[in-house]
Subunit: 330 residues, 2 copies
C-alpha cells in the first residue's frame, strides 16, 4: 500500500506564504481501481500563477479551496497502472500537485518521451516556455530590427522570450535583478541588460531605448510599464503576461498614468493565457526543441529538493532568488 | 483689402484656458497671389485635441508654437481665388484656425458639397464622427448581442459611437453627466444611461453590466477604466480614444491598478488616431450619411457664436457644458 505525503491549504496567505498557511499530511492511498493509475511525483514546476490560485480572486482556473491539495504542474512516473493508455514506468506531465503520490484516471495527463533532462523539459518545453513562444510570436508579432524589452528576463518565461526575440533578429533589452542574473542574460546574447537592483530601470530604459520600444513583454507588472509607455514607438505592442509584482502583495499596484500614449502611438496592450493555445502546443514544442538542440536557446533551472520545501520554494519566485525556471525535485 | 482677426498663443495654459493665454490681433491681409485663395471662416470645430496642442507635449501633430495662430479644424468659404481648383463661393473644410480669414495655397483643404447644415457636417460627418466610426468598427469590432460601454457618451464622438453600436445590435450603456445629456441619450435609444453626476458610475457599471462588458469605448480616461476592467468579458476590447479628463489637468491621472484583468480575460486595450484612416474617409462618410438620412443617428450641436469666444468655447468641453458637438460660428 502506497503512502502519500501532501500539502493542503489551511488558510489563504497574505504576502509571501508561510508553512503555517498549509498542513503537511501523510495518508495511506487505497489500491487503484480499474482505469486508474498511481503516479509518483518526480519534479514540480513552480510557477507564479500558483500564488494567484491561493487567493480567492476569480481567475482562469478556480481558486484552490481550503483543505484541497495545492495545485501544481509537474512530472511524475506511473508506478502502477490499471489503465490501458499508460504503462508502468512511463513519464507523465500534468497537474500532480504538492504531493508525492496520486491516483488518477489519467485524464489531463500527457505521456512524455524522455529525450531531455526532466527539468529542461519542464522549463523550455513546459508551460512557461510555451507561454513565451505564443506570447511573443502571436501577441507581440516581432519583426526584424525591432526593439523588444523584456521584464523578469531571467525568469523561465522571460529568458525564452528574450532569446526567441534574438532569433527573430530583434534588438533585445532584458531587465533583471542582480549581477548573477544579468551576467547570465549577457551570455544568452541579449543586446542590453538592465540590472534594476544596481540602476534605476526607468531611467536606464530611457537612455538605452533611444530609438523607442516596439514590443514590451511584461512579466512583472508595476511601475516599469509607465516608463515603457513614455518610450513606445508607433504601433507598439505590449504583451501583458504576468504581474508577479502583485501576486504576493496585498495592495494593488500603482497603474500607469500615461495610457494616452497608446492613443498617440496607436499602440496595443494585450493579455493572453497559454491555455488558449493548448491545441497548438505541438507547434511550439517542435520549434522550441529545434532551437534547444541548435544551442540557440540557453536555459537554466534552479532545482530545489524535497516535498517539505514546497512553500519556501514558491516564495523564491517572489523574492527574486531563482535564476531561470524554478523546479522542485521530490 | 481684407482684415483678419485672429487668436495667437501668448503662453502655454495650465488647466482651463483663459483669454490672457492668447493675444487677439487684427491684421491687414495682403492681396492673394497666383495659386492662392482667400478663405472666410464660417464655423470652427471645437475639439478636445486642441487643448493637447496647446501643451508642449509631443503628440501626433506638433505643439502650437508661441505667436502662432491657434490650430483648429472648421469650414470656411472661398471669397477670392487665384487657384484653378477653387471657385469663389465654394465651401471648404480644413485647418482654418482661430481666425476670421486666411490665405492658403489650397493644400489640405477639401471642397464640401452643401448637402446638410454645416454644423451637422462638422459633427457626424466631421473628424469626430469618423473617429467614432473607425474606432468602434475597426478597433472595437462589435458583434451582435455584445455589451458596449461608452464614456463621454453625450459628446460628439461618444454619441455617434453609442448609436453605431445600437445599429450593430449591441446592448449599449452610455455614461454622461447631467439630466439633460442623459435624457438626450435615452432619446438616442441607448439601453442604459448612467448619470455620473447623480450616481456613482463605478458602482452603477457593476450593477448594470452584470453579463460583463465586451467593448469599452473610452473617451475620457481616468478612474472609470479601472471599474470597467473588473467587469470585462473574455476577449474584451478597450478602445482608448480620448483622455479628456487629463487634457486640461496639470496632474497625471491615476492609472488602472488592475491591468492583470487583461491577462485573465485575454483582453486587448488599443489606442488609435483617425489620421491613420484618412484614405478610408469616404467609406465612413458614405455609411454615416446613410444612417443620418435614415434617422438612425440622432445628433446635436452646441453652437456658440463669435470669434471673441474661442477660448471660452474650448473650455466648455472640459467643464462638461456642451451636449453633442461643440461648434463656434464665426
Amino acid at each position: 500500500m502506497a503512502k502519500n505525503q501532501k500539502w493542503i491549504l489551511k488558510e489563504r496567505p497574505t504576502g509571501l506564504v508561510d508553512d503555517s498557511n498549509f498542513l503537511f499530511i501523510e495518508e495511506d492511498l487505497p489500491e487503484i481501481k480499474d482505469g486508474e493509475i498511481l503516479i509518483q511525483t518526480e519534479y514540480l514546476s513552480v510557477d507564479p500563477t500558483q500564488r494567484m490560485w491561493l487567493t480567492d480572486m476569480p481567475g482562469y482556473l478556480p481558486p484552490i479551496q481550503i483543505d484541497e491539495v495545492i495545485r501544481s504542474g509537474g512530472m511524475g512516473r506511473v508506478i502502477a497502472s490499471k489503465n490501458e493508455r499508460f504503462n508502468e514506468g512511463e513519464l507523465v506531465n500534468g497537474f500532480v500537485g504538492w504531493q508525492t503520490h496520486l491516483i488518477s484516471d489519467g485524464k489531463g495527463f500527457r505521456k512524455v518521451p524522455e529525450l531531455l533532462p526532466i527539468p529542461t523539459m519542464l522549463n523550455v518545453l513546459g508551460l512557461t516556455g510555451i507561454t513565451a513562444y505564443f506570447g511573443l510570436l502571436d501577441i507581440g508579432q516581432p519583426k526584424e530590427g525591432e526593439t523588444v524589452v523584456v521584464s523578469g528576463a531571467a525568469g523561465a518565461t522571460g529568458s525564452v522570450v528574450a532569446q526567441i526575440a534574438k532569433i527573430k533578429g530583434c534588438n533585445v533589452i532584458g531587465i533583471a535583478g542582480g549581477e548573477e542574473k544579468c551576467g547570465w542574460l549577457e551570455e544568452c546574447g541579449l543586446d542590453h541588460v538592465i540590472d534594476y537592483k544596481a540602476t534605476k530601470a526607468t531611467k536606464e530604459i530611457r537612455r538605452i531605448a533611444q530609438n523607442g520600444i516596439d514590443i514590451y513583454f511584461d512579466n512583472v507588472g508595476g511601475p516599469l510599464l509607465e516608463a515603457v509607455l513614455y518610450q513606445i514607438n508607433q504601433k507598439a505592442r505590449i504583451v501583458i503576461c504576468g504581474a508577479i509584482s502583485n501576486y504576493a502583495s496585498t495592495d494593488l499596484p500603482v497603474g500607469p498614468r500615461n495610457l494616452s500614449s497608446l492613443i498617440i502611438n496607436r499602440a496595443r496592450m494585450e493579455g493572453f493565457l497559454v491555455l488558449d493555445y493548448l491545441e497548438r502546443m505541438d507547434e511550439a514544442i517542435q520549434e522550441l526543441s529545434k532551437w534547444l538542440m541548435d544551442g540557440k536557446i540557453l536555459h537554466k533551472e534552479d532545482v530545489q529538493e524535497g516535498i517539505e520545501n514546497c512553500p519556501s520554494t514558491l516564495n523564491r519566485l517572489f523574492t527574486g532568488q531563482n535564476i531561470g525556471k524554478q523546479i522542485l525535485k521530490i
